[in-house]
């Protein structure tokens, strides 16, 4: 994996991937951590709301960032706008009081991983072979 990438995630299934900044917390904590990286010169490669899961139901989030090609710490305004508007949108949605059993949590982790995996593959962060294995749940 290239050293110019970072993954920020609160999804335990993503935790073991190299250069993953694992966040113990909610999706809002993931967004804030990603915003911090954007402020120091990273841009986001994947939209934070990767699937069609209501923020009130969303437990896991993974965001991929890449170092900006420019030298120095230029803030990528487009990335910042996306992160900020996503934060506003998610803050507005009341977080669900739902109690999820382990099986459902695992499914949600799986879905978050499935939605982000093609992006990891696209940018060469994981190999196609690894994606294939993960796709098949191995």
């Amino acid at each position: 994996m290239s050293s110019s990438y970072y993954l920020i995630s609160n999804n335990p299934r993503i935790r073991t991937l190299p250069r993953c900044i694992y966040v113990e917390g909610s999706i809002l904590d993931v967004l804030v951590a990603a915003r911090d990286k954007v402020h120091v010169g990273y841009k986001i490669l994947s939209h934070p709301l990767s699937g069609n899961i209501a923020p009130s139901m969303r437990i896991f989030m993974t965001i991929i960032l890449a170092q900006s090609p420019c030298e120095g710490h230029f803030t990528d305004i487009e990335s910042l706008n996306v992160i900020e508007s996503t934060l506003e949108f998610c803050k507005d949605q009341s977080l669900s009081s739902i109690k999820l059993d382990q099986k459902v949590l695992e499914d949600m982790q799986y879905l978050d991983e499935q939605l982000i995996m093609p992006v990891l593959c696209r940018y060469g962060i994981v190999s196609k072979q690894e994606v294939c294995l993960i796709d098949r749940g191995k």
């Binding site: 990767s50 069609n52 508007s85 996503t86 982000i116 093609p118 992006v119 098949r136 749940g137």
Partner: protein
């Protein structure tokens, strides 16, 4: 391209010794349906059930809804890439549709489940599929099946049954024939040329498992924006890859009956010159969003249109695609009208979309997905109601002891459909 849609009206659905259509009644032979699907070893079993309008029946969790259709004249067959071959294209000739009937697929693909169709009561008012006579397929997958394979199996099974049912009415005289014809773009009359040129930018959800759409069998996340004839859409060229968000994932039925295309056809030659449809996708990466919105607007410019209607599918990251399409079109001098739903909180006071722009100055809302609805208990549940707590829009305690449900509107299939295929509307004159 000219398509005749032969509509055979179905007023009732009953079990029968053979599957047939007689006197506007669709008779279903359970064994015939089961045997059609028995070759697919991805299923442990498939139960077939019937649900009629007005019955005290709840169907949950719904994955897709499909209108039974088949070709009776013309190239190929409906649902090309799945049922029909991809040699040739669809959209010409004659197609038979069983209007008033639908195939509803129901299965547990993931731990959180979508969506609800109540055939009566207050929930029925919110879904168009409480008005159709439904053949419901309830899938139980083989234990070791992988989820992508299971999703594909559900998708294909629904299409197979929908096609099969329509073929049983090939000898029945249609109750109505609708004609859809658009002249070639470069060979239109001078009268038409005087009217404003309008195209339809048709956004297709394409983010991954349960967020996908297929065009001629091709995963829409792998396409560049392209042109599609509206008649091809009526012939099932666009198929839903099942859903995680019931209220605003376009089911296959809604694609087949796209009301935006219907409305554009109605105004063609009167108020507008309907140029055609540009399909585009809603991928996860910002790079794709940028590329595909630029490419979509480039196609619109090549067509020389004055205005576009843009429909979104889903919410969240597709809001970014919607706004990019809108902004780039407006900056290119093309007027836009957007159609979307809202996630504005239970009181409607919160931010509706995850993105916005001053250029989005003509927006049609199809409704807010967050308000709470109370659904009374039903006499019969088809599917698996124990999952109601874990559908989008459900919350802890959603399913009461008496079988009633308290959920956000987004749990109801088609409640805020972003093509406008909905039951409620408000109009100002």
């Amino acid at each position: 391209m000219r398509l005749e849609l032969h509509k055979v009206k179905i007023n009732d659905i009953k079990w029968g010794n053979t599957t047939k259509v007689e006197d506007k009644v669709l008779y279903i032979n359970q064994e015939e349906i089961s045997s059609l699907l028995s070759k697919d070893d991805r299923f442990e079993c498939v139960e077939v059930d019937l649900a009629r309008p007005g019955e005290k029946v709840r169907i949950v969790p719904v994955k897709d809804v499909i209108e039974p259709r088949c070709k009776i004249e013309g190239e190929g067959d409906v649902f090309p890439g799945f049922i029909g071959d991809v040699e040739g294209t669809v959209g010409e000739g004659k197609t038979l549709a069983l209007t008033g009937a639908a195939v509803v697929t129901c299965g547990k693909i993931m731990g959180f489940q979508e969506g609800i169709i109540d055939m009566s009561g207050p929930g029925a008012d919110y879904t168009p599929f409480s008005k159709t006579n439904n053949v419901v397929l309830v899938f139980t997958p083989r234990a070791d099946i992988e989820r992508h394979d299971y999703e594909a199996a559900c998708r294909v099974a629904g299409l197979k049954v929908a096609h099969f049912l329509a073929t049983k009415a090939k000898d029945v005289s249609p109750d109505e024939v609708s004609l859809y014809e658009l002249e070639e773009i470069t060979k239109r009359s001078k009268e038409l040329e005087k009217l404003p040129k309008v195209a339809y930018i048709y956004m297709l959800q394409s983010q991954g498992l349960l967020h996908d759409t297929y065009v001629y069998g091709v995963d829409a996340k792998k396409i560049l924006p392209t042109l599609i004839h509206p008649n091809e859409v009526f012939d099932g060229a666009i198929v839903s890859g099942n859903c995680v968000s019931a209220c605003d994932k376009n089911s296959t039925y809604v694609h087949q009956n796209n009301p935006v295309i219907e409305a554009l056809y109605k105004r063609h030659g009167e108020e507008i010159n309907f140029i055609g449809c540009i399909i585009t996708n809603e991928n996860v990466t910002l790079e794709d969003k940028k590329r595909n919105s630029s490419y979509t607007v480039k196609l619109a410019r090549m067509l020389g249109v004055d205005g576009v209607i843009i429909t979104e599918e889903g919410f969240g990251n597709p809001d970014t695609d919607l706004i990019m399409n809108c902004k780039k079109a407006e900056l290119a001098g093309i007027k836009t009208v957007l159609i979307t739903d809202e996630y504005a909180g239970r009181d409607g006071a919160s931010q509706s979309l995850a993105d916005a722009s001053p250029e989005a100055n003509a927006v049609v809302s199809v409704g807010n997905a967050n308000p709470i609805v109370k659904l009374p208990p039903m006499e019969r549940v088809i599917g698996f109601s124990e999952y109601v707590d874990i559908i989008a829009g459900g919350f802890s305690g959603s399913l009461k002891d008496d079988g009633s449900i308290e959920v956000e509107l987004q749990a109801i299939t088609g409640a805020t459909n972003e093509l406008g295929f909905t039951c409620f509307s408000a109009e100002t004159r």
